[in-house]
């Protein structure tokens, strides 16, 4: 396992006083994999990442990153991982070049090696502005890419990206994920947290966290299959009174999921008998279509639905 795993987590607990932010989490990430780590706010994603980057010490359990354990010292782990946190970790009052210079000095990079690496990375992110451009003057998406370049300067084996595309434009997100795929193609292991389900779909495997616990881990396709063995129904309202009937159908026990999805609803049938009985009534108010579930449906069902006690 050690040969192919970039990250191994076994029975991890992280407690702040009496509060357990991470509870008995076990998983592993294969080298070169794009691994998505999903969960609602406060689910324990950032805490787990901080443990893996050597920024927090676990209360219980074992962690190995690039075959190194925190017990052997945090510095060797920090040399092998790149970390891009939720916030913009660049200094706004420094230029792009000055930010990268400083990051290189933190990693004690040889000046010649650093310059070569910097130029390659700036080419990689297609940064076409002068190095003395102030970070403050960069658009959010470019700032994120420079931040990514800074976290890659020391050529890490594993890259931890904590909500890297939060607050940037859709076009910038698409561009950022192109870079992530290219990095994975170069053999880097990518460990990414995100709230965007379209981004999560691009991960090879996805782990779902809820209240500090790992509740599911698999490929996006398998997660959809296991969460929705029955086809998912998309209901588009056709009458003005359609929504007034929803509460009644929900309480009938026909569905185990009935959630709004834009102006439409996604529903999963739990009891075929009851469904057949009310299907005609539903069809009078909704246009019904059988669809493939998205990862967002999985997320809502497993993470949000159950956390709200909303098994309907």
């Amino acid at each position: 396992m050690a040969d192919t795993s970039a990250v191994e987590v076994n029975g991890l607990w992280v407690k702040y006083g009496d509060f357990a932010a991470v509870r008995n989490v076990t998983f592993s990430v294969v080298r070169g994999e794009i691994f998505g780590f999903l969960g609602a706010n406060g689910a324990g994603k950032t805490t787990t990442i901080r443990v893996l980057c050597g920024l927090l010490t676990p209360t219980e359990g074992t962690v190995r990153v690039c075959d190194l354990s925190p017990q052997d010292g945090l510095l060797p782990i920090k040399r092998k991982v790149g970390y891009m946190s939720q916030k913009f970790t660049l200094y706004n009052d420094l230029s792009v070049g000055e930010n990268l210079d400083f990051t290189a000095s933190l990693h004690k990079l040889d000046p010649a090696v650093y310059r070569k690496q910097r130029d390659e990375l700036l080419r990689f992110i297609a940064f076409d502005r002068p190095l003395n451009t102030m970070v403050l003057d960069l658009p959010g998406g470019i700032k994120q890419q420079v931040s990514l370049a800074a976290s890659l300067l020391h050529n890490p084996e594993v890259i931890f990206l904590d909500e890297p595309t939060a607050g940037v434009t859709p076009a910038a997100r698409v561009r950022f994920w192109e870079l992530i795929r290219q990095l994975a193609g170069l053999g880097k292991t990518i460990f990414v947290t995100t709230h965007y389900m379209d981004e999560a779909e691009q991960c090879q495997r996805v782990a779902l966290m809820r209240d500090g616990e790992l509740i599911a881990i698999d490929t996006p396709a398998n997660l959809k299959k296991s969460t929705f063995p029955q086809p998912l129904l998309e209901l588009e309202p056709t009458t003005k009174t359609a929504t007034t009937k929803i509460a009644e159908w929900k309480s009938s026990g026909a569905f185990d999921l009935f959630e709004p999805y834009g102006i439409r609803y996604h529903a999963s049938v739990a009891d075929q008998k009851i469904w057949k009985a009310i299907e005609a009534d539903v069809e009078q108010h909704f246009h019904i279509k059988s669809i493939k579930p998205s990862l967002e449906d999985v997320f809502i069902r497993l993470v949000e639905g159950k956390s709200h006690g909303a098994s309907i």
Partner: protein, 366 residues
């Protein structure tokens, strides 16, 4: 030099010196503050409005009054009132000389020279000063006129003033203000620089890198030690140019003493930053230290006059030691035993603050 420390030095200098507000805070504000403090904080009493109630032929009192006005400490008070008390009450005069019945000259020759001085003592320090000045003038006039003792008195006081012969307040106040300014700058800048990293989230980036705690501590403090020391010549030149503060001692000793003091104040700033979560808390912590430190520094109020409890607190105050060192070097030439003793205490304080800060400083987020 260690690449990480060099990187910190470059970054901190660029960040501090690029910001026009910081440049002003570092280089212009000390000069303005020094000028304001030097001019405003003065025990010298001047422009006292002095009134007099006497008969025209009272030559001795007229002579005393004229000498008072000629001294430069007094100016004549408007004489619209007919009653000396009213002259004080109305604010026309701060002090009034009132001749005895029949005049001072006649009363002296009668052998009971009694002169009344009414003083507005709403400002007790100023009132005491007025009394002393008038007494001095009376002494000079009576001596000049040989009014009481035509023969030389058995004991004559040969009064000589060393180190500040003109007894200018600014000469001893300005070195004190210099200490305060260096202290203020280094403590506030150091503590705020670390809190700013915590607030902006960049602190997480710092500690995610393979850096040792001492590298972060040194990297975040060394730039402010250098900036603090670089302020000393600037303030010194301003003090000499604007207030003619003498420089009797060695500049090298002053420079080395300043370095030790700046290291102490920077380590105090570092200690404050280990408690503060953001810049606001840092600023508050800095001022919570600075206000009592200023009052207990001996800059304005002699430590010897303080109650025992405050005196003991003053001995824990780095500012007190540097005020004494700086006054000693600039005015007296610098006594080795005093300077070495005070520098040893300052070094000990810096060491303790550093050790405590190091223990409190975490390179994890716990």
């Amino acid at each position: 030099m260690n690449r990480t420390i060099l990187g910190f030095l470059k970054k901190e200098f660029v960040q501090t010196l690029r910001d026009p507000r910081m440049r002003m805070l570092l280089f212009l504000a000390p000069i303005i503050q020094l000028t304001l403090f030097g001019v405003a904080i003065s025990n010298d009493i001047k422009n006292v409005r002095l009134g007099v109630f006497m008969q025209p032929q009272d030559t001795v009192l007229q002579h005393i009054y004229d000498r008072c006005l000629a001294s430069g400490w007094f100016i004549p008070a408007p004489s619209s009132q007919t009653d000396p008390y009213q002259q004080i009450q109305s604010g026309d005069a701060e002090a009034v000389l009132v001749a005895p019945e029949g005049g001072l000259t006649r009363s002296i020759y009668r052998g009971d020279g009694q002169l009344q001085l009414l003083v507005n003592a709403t400002n007790a320090v100023r009132a005491q000063g007025i009394e002393q000045y008038v007494n001095t003038v009376i002494g000079l006039v009576t001596s000049d006129m040989n009014l009481f003792s035509p023969v030389t008195p058995p004991v004559q006081l040969d009064f000589r003033i060393f180190y500040n012969p003109t007894m200018e307040t600014a000469v001893y106040m300005v070195p004190g203000v210099m200490c305060l300014l260096v202290c203020l700058l280094t403590i506030v800048l150091t503590s705020m620089s670390i809190s700013r990293e915590k607030e902006a989230g960049t602190f997480e980036m710092l500690i995610a890198a393979p850096v040792k705690p001492w590298e972060v501590i040194l990297g975040k403090t060394l730039p402010y030690v250098l900036l603090g020391v670089s302020n000393i010549p600037l303030i010194l030149i301003a003090a000499q140019t604007l207030f003619a503060v003498p420089m009797k001692g060695s500049l090298l000793v002053l420079g080395l003493s300043s370095l030790v003091f700046v290291c102490t104040t920077v380590s105090v700033g570092l200690l404050i930053s280990t408690f503060a979560r953001d810049q606001q808390q840092s600023m508050m912590g800095g001022f919570l230290f600075l206000f009592p430190a200023n009052l207990l520094s001996g800059m304005m109020f002699p430590v010897e006059n303080m109650p025992e409890v405050l005196k003991n607190l003053a001995y824990l105050n780095p500012l007190m030691y540097f005020v004494a060192i700086l006054r000693n070097i600039t005015l007296k030439g610098g006594e080795a035993h005093l300077i070495l003793h005070h520098l040893a205490i300052l070094s000990l304080m810096a060491g303790i603050c550093m050790v405590v800060s190091f223990r409190r400083f975490n390179t994890t987020l716990q």
